[in-house]
């Protein structure tokens, strides 16, 4: 018994799942009509569906971010890449280009942004924080330049399907996120790629000694993170049928990093938990929805978010855990 309990507590998913469950139970008990899922025009509607749909961009970004953080890096540029891909998509849609072009060009631009980040980090050896800061600062400027400083509006039903479409009652964007997640999960866990990524994060020197090509793997994860941001950019742009280079995806990089950290992936790199990041993204969105549903104003969301971030980081800190278990056991002894 004494042996078993800590194992459960140490599981990477335990605390985040517990927190998510607590949030949901709280809502079901105290928020009116929270658990209700209605069927309207053959589509599912309701608070829970809303949370799922709204967390898709963070899930997408979090997937890319998780791999980047696992290598010991960070990608601050995703918000700016969202603005760039959204701007290109909106411009093409406004000028009536065919759908494949509207989708392919922004994604290509996002991929190039990711490769650029990867090139700076892996080839030139710049710290990830700084390397991606460059694009974070200038990317939004580039997006504004593309848009000429204006909000580009468009109307293209086939393009808007990305955010407005439904398949079997569920929004298309959820399938999109699920597909990306499934693909990443397969590639990282069924091949050695996941192991390589983790080994670079745990010990770069040792992984080089065993012959892992850190340069190409880092290039791949940053490129992938860029691509994820590109998809999120198309999604967010079609949602409002316009490109707002100033505001689209603002601070989303922070949410993506938070989702990853809440999910149990350490910022120092190493083991990564994709499912954890999804839970993290859901927690962030549920928290926001809960607070708004409680009638509390938006600013309070930020304060609650701050408290949640610190509490979850504390729970994951080994120092805090040993202090806590020392407090609970009366003695600080550990097995």
């Amino acid at each position: 018994m004494r042996q078993k309990l800590p194992d459960v507590l140490r599981s990477p998913y335990f605390w985040s799942l517990l927190f998510l469950a607590a949030l949901l139970i709280f809502n079901i008990l105290f928020t009116e009509r929270f658990g209700v899922i209605e069927v309207r025009d053959g589509h599912f509607y309701g608070n829970i569906m809303d949370i799922l749909r709204r967390s898709v961009p963070t899930v997408l970004l979090g997937t890319g971010m998780t791999l980047v953080i696992a290598t010991g890096g960070i990608d601050l540029s995703v918000g700016a890449v969202i603005a760039v891909s959204g701007a290109i998509g909106a411009l093409l849609a406004r000028d009536g280009y065919p759908l494949p072009v509207i989708i392919a060009l922004p994604l290509a631009a996002a991929l190039i942004s990711g490769v650029w980040n990867g090139f700076l980090v892996a080839k030139i050896g710049i710290q990830p924080f700084v390397a991606t800061l460059i694009l974070m600062v200038s990317g939004r400027g580039i997006a504004q330049l593309l848009c000429g400083g204006q909000i580009i509006k468009f109307s293209d039903p086939s393009f808007e399907y990305i955010s407005a479409g439904f398949i079997l009652g569920f929004p298309f964007s959820m399938y999109l996120a699920a597909a990306v997640l499934a693909a990443v999960q397969t590639v990282t866990r069924k091949t050695a790629l996941g192991l390589f990524i983790e080994s670079i994060g745990v010990n770069p020197a040792a992984s080089r000694c065993v012959g892992i090509n850190a340069t190409s793997i880092k290039l791949i994860v940053y490129a992938f993170s860029g691509l994820c941001a590109g998809i999120a950019g198309l999604l967010l742009t079609t949602e409002i049928r316009g490109a707002d280079a100033n505001n689209v995806g603002l601070n989303l990089e922070m949410d993506a990093i938070l989702a990853t950290v809440i999910g149990g992936t350490a910022m120092t790199g190493g083991k990564f938990y994709l499912a954890g990041s999804v839970i993290g993204a859901l927690i962030i969105q549920t928290l926001t929805t809960t607070i708004l549903a409680r009638g509390v104003t938006r600013p309070a969301t930020l304060v609650v978010k701050a408290i949640v971030v610190i509490s979850i980081s504390l729970i994951q800190s080994s120092v805090f855990r040993s202090q806590l278990s020392g407090l609970l056991a009366g003695r600080g002894g550990r097995a």
Binding site: Q144, L145, P299, A300
Partner: protein, 327 residues
């Protein structure tokens, strides 16, 4: 190949000085009236709050950390200051002193989380950023004007530089902050510990340096300068607004990096940060002088400058490593 008296770690700051000189000279030649005492004084005044915040940021970066909370601390300071003075009639100077203490305390708390629980500064100060921004929005979503005759008089105070141009209060505070920061970094035990931690935290621990105490001190200092920046910003705009200082942390980090401080920590000088701030100021002013370029060019140019400086830093770090490991 190797110049005699220049060490590798001096190259970034020399590059900063050269870039500032070139930019300033180019702008002075290209625009009429750019090379004037008034424009020069305005470079300091318009960027005073950013510079003051960047002084604190320099310490965080020197130690290998980061402080993302500064922008929201500026907003929070501004909104509390305006509210207390304008709506509740508090004494202006007492309020300012209280807010400086509060900012320092806020930084100390973040520093404690970082030092005692080994949490990444990025996450802790991100939480601090959310907390301060949220608090300022809870206090007031609307902009609150600052109404105080004494403070208006203080803000208008300035040292005469010529018949018509004065070096204003905000600029004086900026210069004083940089001087104080330089003194702390170069001539105190605390400053040497900051450099030591930035160079190698493990070695600092092994040498028996007070790493935890120093880390707490660093974020306390950053909190102090952030709230001082907030007070100056409030005087400058005569109002407190919960959305001000958005993205200021990035501008401050960019100033620090352009000013020649290595983001990996351990190398850098406070006066470099001031130059980094002034370089951004010259770019902004030149774009305003030009009139045809849009504000987004500022972002693109600063991004490019960042890129060049970081390339330079990486090249220096590599050559230094080569020299150390070479025969």
């Amino acid at each position: 190949m190797r110049a005699p008296n220049i060490k590798a770690r001096h190259v970034p700051i020399i590059a900063t000085v050269v870039v500032f000189g070139l930019l300033y000279a180019a702008a002075s030649m290209h625009f009429r009236n750019f090379f004037s005492l008034r424009v020069f004084a305005n470079l300091f005044t318009d960027n005073a709050f950013m510079g003051i915040v960047a002084v604190g940021m320099t310490f965080a970066v020197l130690s290998g950390g980061i402080d993302l909370s500064v922008g929201s601390v500026v907003a929070c300071t501004g909104i509390i200051m305006s509210k207390l003075i304008t709506q509740h009639g508090f004494d202006p100077f007492l309020t300012a002193a209280m807010l400086l203490a509060a900012g320092t305390l806020f930084g100390t708390i973040m520093g404690c989380f970082i030092a005692f629980y080994d949490l990444p500064p990025f996450i802790v100060t991100l939480a601090g950023m959310f907390f301060a921004r949220g608090s300022s929005q809870i206090i007031s979503l609307e902009s609150i004007p600052l109404k105080s005759d004494v403070l208006t008089a203080v803000a208008k105070f300035g040292i005469p530089m010529s018949a018509r141009v004065r070096f204003p209060f905000a600029a004086i505070v900026l210069v004083a902050s940089v001087l104080a920061g330089t003194w702390i970094a170069q001539f105190t035990k605390f400053g040497r510990n900051v450099y030591a931690i930035g160079d190698s935290e493990q070695s600092a621990v092994m040498m028996g340096l007070p790493v935890r105490r120093t880390k707490i001190g660093i974020y306390a200092l950053s909190g102090f300068f952030a709230s001082l920046g907030g007070v100056i910003y409030t005087l400058y705009t005569s109002a407190g607004y919960s959305l001000s200082g958005m993205g200021l942390e990035l501008d401050a980090i960019a100033s620090v990096v352009i000013g020649g401080t290595l983001l990996s920590g351990g190398v850098g000088y406070l006066p470099g940060t001031l130059l980094g701030v002034l370089i951004q100021g010259v770019i902004k002013t030149a774009i305003i002088f030009d009139g045809t370029l849009n504000s987004w060019w500022t972002k693109i140019i600063i991004g490019s400058l960042l890129f060049i400086f970081i390339l330079l830093q990486t090249w220096i770090a590599k050559s230094a490593r080569f020299r150390r490991s070479g025969p």
